[in-house]
């Protein structure tokens, strides 16, 4: 199993903060989600981090056992 993490407003869209998914190519993992959620996760302003490292390109990424893929909408601190 791998894990998807939804930060900020994406947590509201997903209805949960994280989700366990089958390991495999990211495209395949996303194809298995509610399409409304998948569309939001692929939004232009959403960044992704694999095990805490930003991905510059999700093409070809394959989640292996224990991986954590986080979806990061625009930040706002302070």
């Amino acid at each position: 199993m791998a894990r998807l993490v939804f930060m900020g407003r994406l947590e509201d869209v997903a209805g949960m903060g994280e989700m366990a998914v089958q390991a495999g190519p990211v495209e395949q993992v996303l194809a298995g989600l509610d399409p409304a959620l998948a569309v939001e996760l692929l939004g232009e302003k959403v960044r992704m981090a694999l095990n805490g490292k930003l991905l510059t390109d999700m093409g070809g990424v394959v989640l292996v056992e224990g991986d954590e893929l986080a979806f990061l909408p625009p930040v706002s601190g302070g």
């Binding site: 900020g8 407003r9 947590e11 981090a49 805490g52 990061l72 625009p74 601190g77 302070g78």
Partner: protein, 157 residues
């Protein structure tokens, strides 16, 4: 406090606070640790009282938020000759009057202290791994960065 949430170097101390902190005590402690600095600039951001906001929540993402703050402190120290730098940022649910963020910068010359604190705040505001939502009468609402926040960032080149 978990070791993951606290970094101390000779110059910088960076903390992610998961519960309320006392900014006045932090400032007093920082000042006492820096008698060699001619100038100390502090910035305190707090949840505004009286603006209709009942609560404010800041989320962080553990694998990235504190490392990002540490990197910010490192860059600020490289750019300005600061003798001390403290960054404390809350995560979690806060109420009006609660401290959100505190930055203290001590330097020999005051312009360096002002610049380092100002730089750190601009980057914490719109380039650190926090997500903010406010609770008002209508319920919770996620806050996205304003165009001004990005303009502020662009001042630093």
């Amino acid at each position: 406090m978990n070791w993951r949430f606290c970094l101390r170097s000779a110059v910088a101390e960076v903390r992610l606070a998961l519960s309320p902190f006392d900014p006045a005590a932090e400032i007093a402690g920082f000042n006492a640790r820096h008698p060699h600095a001619g100038g100390i600039v502090t910035f305190l951001g707090q949840v505004r009282a009286g603006g209709g906001v009942e609560a404010l929540e800041l989320q962080h993402y553990a694998p990235m938020t504190l490392p990002g703050m540490e990197e910010l402190a490192r860059i600020a120290q490289e750019r300005w000759p600061v003798e001390g730098l403290l960054i404390v940022h809350r995560s979690g649910v806060m109420v009006p009057g609660d401290a959100i963020v505190l930055v203290c910068a001590a330097a020999r010359h005051r312009r360096d202290a002002f610049a380092a604190a100002d730089f750190a705040m601009d980057h914490l505001k719109s380039e650190s791994w926090f997500w903010k939502r406010e609770k008002a009468a209508q319920g919770w609402r996620w806050i996205e960065p304003r165009p001004e926040d990005h303009e502020d960032l662009s001042r630093w080149g």
